[in-house]
């Protein structure tokens, strides 16, 4: 069974982000980029499945400009067998990504498509769900535990939901999106990084996958949240009521 893992190249989690001065987005020039932490977790669960014999091959895919290849190399260094890079502009919205993933799935025909639950730059939490809808595949999102039964071609997924944990059984092929507590991703060791240089990265274009890039979304403006004002210490309940009524206009 092949497993396809979708990876996104995002601003490193430890970097303090800034808004561009023209307010069109976040400054990404001269900023450290890394693999999305949830995508690392997704890749780790796929690699463990391969090591336990459940899967035969792990394919890492990423869409974006040419720098995505660096992130894919990291994925290959962690242990993926091969990678696919879809050459696309850097701003891709979840629906477009979902359509691209659907096209890739139809080419590669994996038994499982694993993604991170969300990307740390846009926090959309939409791609996994959308691609499952487009493919008409069952989905197990926010997975904190995944057990695959090869014989029955089913996956048991523990989901972290607001009320606690929900256990689902999904027939394969299925889409799983990973949450933080699923595993601790492995380090890419130096020998593996060297070996990854010779692993193949296939480049595909949008035209090959027959996906229309046109998006129904347009980002109009990105602004920083307003600076926090200092707190005010009040002396009586009357003053509090007065301020809530006349200044904050909440009562």
């Amino acid at each position: 069974m092949k497993i396809m893992v979708a990876i996104k190249r995002v601003v490193d989690y430890a970097v303090k982000i800034r808004i561009k001065s023209d307010k069109t987005g976040v400054e990404t020039a001269n900023v450290k980029m890394s693999m999305n932490p949830f995508c690392e977790i997704a890749l780790e669960v796929a690699l463990r499945m391969k090591e336990s014999g459940v899967a035969s091959e792990v394919i890492a895919v990423s869409m974006g400009p040419s720098q995505c290849v660096d992130t894919l190399r990291t994925g290959l260094a962690m242990g993926a067998d091969r990678a696919i890079h879809v050459d696309a502009p850097s701003t891709l919205y979840p629906l477009t990504v979902a359509k691209l993933l659907k096209a890739l799935v139809q080419v590669e025909k994996p038994g499982l498509l694993i993604l991170g639950k969300q990307a740390i730059d846009d926090d959309c939490n939409q791609t996994g769900q959308m691609v499952a809808g487009l493919l008409n595949w069952p989905q197990g999102t926010f997975a904190s535990k995944v057990v695959v039964d090869k014989e029955k071609k089913a996956a048991t997924v523990d989901r972290e939901v607001d009320g606690g944990l929900e256990t689902l059984c999904l027939d394969l092929p299925a889409v799983i999106t990973t949450d933080l507590r699923l595993n601790q991703p492995r380090y890419a060791t130096l020998p593996n990084i060297m070996k990854a240089k010779s692993k193949p990265i296939k480049k595909m274009s949008l035209a090959e996958l027959n996906v229309d890039l046109r998006s129904d979304l347009e980002v109009v403006q990105v602004t920083a949240p307003p600076v926090r004002k200092a707190g005010v210490i009040l002396s009586s309940v009357d003053e509090l009521v007065d301020k809530l009524k006349n200044e904050a206009h909440v009562i």
């Binding site: 490193d12 430890a14 970097v15 800034r18 450290k32 601790q184 020998p191 060297m194």
Partner: protein, 632 residues
């Protein structure tokens, strides 16, 4: 089968110490010398191939490809061979990768050396495998500098750097020097000559240099910290070993534990920057300070911020240096203010670490600097982009150690080639890397000795430049005004031709007076506009370390902080550390104890230098941690 054994060696001629390690294979285990920290060795009952290195070494054409294939070789024979390499290290089961040249540190010196090696290979139609390991998460992440760049070494290394789109575009447009008092800024005659120099971000430049190195075939591995130097039985350096990853705070192995990797080079260059942790060990081991120019190294701590300011206040290429306030007349140091491109301004304060008062706080002095009426208006409506700190060497000519040791050499600021009166060290660091590369090439291809590096250093413009600059810094031992007077004498009259060479004062850590003899300094509270508290600034350095790892700052004697540092010196580490790593907090019994917040560390090495009893040892944390500078 044999092919697989020998693929891991490089294809060039074996050198004497390599054959030595093969010879010991043939001796019985009892006759080989035992090392105190060797792992328990089983008797060597492996099949000994008859001198495979000599017979098969020409079979492979390219350097690193053969290295990557060898992992598929038989693990049985591999383990047997590795027993030899492992005898002198305390870790078991580490993979070993061999290169012609291993370079520790991906900064200007290390990358210049790597690039020069590949250029020499290309010119001589040969190939060498070159590997650069860098502890930062990416090349440039741990690079911090002023920086007014003198392109002298770059012009020699990559003459067409402009066409290659090096991030060097802002030429110096104005050059001012001021003496600051608490309220005034007195213009002074400018001792600097920055014609032809550029205001750059060194972090950006090093990132570009890293790309150039990779284009030439250098293997650059960021995120890997060199933790240990590897020696053979004759005390020659044969390589380094990276950190084990995935060790928890208590020392246990976590789920994602990965042992470190041994990188063995026929020549090993150490380019770790100022006060490099492995370089210091090597200097001590081979007594390189005495064999060199003789004096100890002296240091300064530079704390820097990059601001984005209003467009109408921004003058690209403007260079300003100051002396005086906020530092007193006994503390050497000064500030810099450079206008880069994109409305960005670098501002920083450099304080010599031989200050006397243990209550001195370089970070707070920097905040004071920004409040000065000549500087405050420039920054007022701006935003801080990044913050960071790094020590730099000020010992100059008198402190250069003998940089060659059996197995390699030390390049760049790890040796110490910074020109103090010019306050530039990048060009000399790059040139030293290039000279070391030329010597290393001679060693690997012509059988010469690394000693040629020392000779070429002495015949290069580095030597001439540092010799001319040697008497400026030591003059300030006599105080600010005598220092300035002697500097003026040097600059206008003597120009380095004096028959004497002034000596440095006490080593920095011995210069601290006891707290009882000094008075505490009152620092004003941060105003959040131009001055900030340490946590806010630290956040802007993008520094982080995985918290679940052993603290990388080791105390040689854990009792010294509470018994010596606190009572005698009022805990100076809680003041000079620009990242608030060291804090004295009261424990349950009300006793003050030292708390080490290793996660905050900016890798500046100030603690390693300034601790009065030299009790704090800075060691490398897991690779990939530390600051993430991008425009510093």
């Amino acid at each position: 089968m044999f092919k697989k054994i020998i693929t891991f060696t490089s294809k060039s001629k074996p050198k004497t110490f390599e054959s030595a390690s093969l010879h010991t294979l043939k001796h019985s285990p009892q006759s080989s010398p035992s090392k105190p920290n060797s792992s328990t060795q089983k008797p060597l009952n492996i099949i000994i191939p008859p001198n495979p290195l000599n017979s098969f070494n020409r079979s492979f054409s390219s350097g690193y490809h053969s290295n990557s294939i060898n992992y598929k070789g038989s693990s049985l024979i591999r383990n047997g061979f590795w027993n030899l390499g492992r005898r002198f290290s305390s870790e078991a089961a580490r993979e070993c990768i061999e290169y012609d040249v291993v370079i520790v540190g991906g900064g200007p010196a290390g990358l210049s050396a790597a690039i020069r090696l590949k250029q020499l290979c290309r010119d001589n139609d040969v190939d060498l495998s070159v590997c650069v390991v860098e502890k930062g998460a990416e090349v440039g992440a741990h690079i911090l500098s002023g920086n007014v760049f003198e392109p002298r070494a770059l012009n020699e290394l990559i003459p067409n750097w402009k066409e290659e789109e090096a991030p060097i575009s802002v030429g110096v447009s104005s050059d001012k020097f001021m003496l600051l008092t608490k309220k005034h800024a007195i213009p002074m005659p400018n001792p600097f000559d920055n014609k032809g120099n550029y205001v750059i971000s060194l972090s950006q430049f090093v990132r570009w240099l890293g790309q150039k190195a990779e284009e030439l075939g250098v293997e650059v591995y960021p995120g890997f910290a060199a933790k240990e130097v590897l020696f053979d039985e004759n005390e020659n350096v044969i390589g380094i070993a990276t950190n084990d990853m995935g060790i928890g705070k208590d020392g246990s192995k976590k789920d994602n534990y990965q042992p470190g990797v041994e990188l063995k080079g026929r020549v090993n260059l150490f380019a770790e920057g100022c006060r490099g942790s492995l370089s210091e060990k090597i200097i001590r081991k081979y007594d390189l300070r005495k064999k060199g120019q003789g004096q100890h190294q002296t240091y300064a701590l530079g704390i820097k911020e990059v601001w984005e300011i209003d467009a109408d206040k921004h003058k690209p290429g403007a260079v300003v240096h100051t002396l005086g306030w906020p530092l007193d007349h006994k503390t050497y140091g000064g500030s810099f203010l450079y206008h880069m491109q994109d409305r960005q301004v670098s501002i920083g304060l450099v304080c010599a670490l031989n200050y006397h008062n243990p209550y001195f706080n370089p970070y707070e002095e920097f905040q004071n600097l920004k409040r000065h009426p000549a500087i405050r208006p420039l920054l007022e409506n701006g935003t801080v982009l990044q913050y960071g700190a790094r020590t730099l060497n000020e010992g100059g000519f008198q402190s250069i150690p003998y940089p060659v040791f059996p197995g390699g050499a030390i390049v760049g600021c790890s040796a110490g080639f910074l020109n103090v009166p010019k306050i530039k060290g990048t060009h000399t660091a790059m040139k030293s890397g290039m000279l070391a590369a030329e010597s290393a090439f001679g060693v690997l291809h012509k059988g010469s000795n690394m000693k040629t590096y020392w000779e070429s250093l002495k015949n290069s413009w580095i030597w001439e430049e540092l010799h001319r600059a040697r008497n400026y810094r030591p003059a300030f031992e006599y105080g600010l005004l005598p220092g300035m007077a002697i500097s003026a004498l040097e600059h206008y009259l003597l120009k380095g031709r004096a028959p004497y060479t002034l000596k440095h004062g006490k080593p920095d850590h011995e210069a601290t007076h006891e707290a009882s003899q000094c008075s505490p300094i009152e620092y004003p509270k941060p105003d959040g506009i131009v001055s900030f508290d340490v946590p806010t600034s630290l956040y802007r350095s993008n520094t982080n370390h995985d918290h679940d790892q052993p603290a990388h700052l080791r105390l040689r004697d854990p009792k010294v902080p509470e018994h010596v540092n606190l009572p005698k010196y009022a805990g100076p580490e809680s003041r000079y550390c620009p990242a608030r790593v060291y804090e004295y907090v009261s424990d349950d019994n009300g006793q003050m104890k030292l708390q080490i917040n290793a996660q905050n560390c900016l890798h500046c090495k100030a603690c390693d230098i300034k601790d009065p009893k030299q009790n704090i040892e800075w060691t490398v944390p897991e690779g990939g941690g530390g600051p993430k500078y991008s425009v510093m």
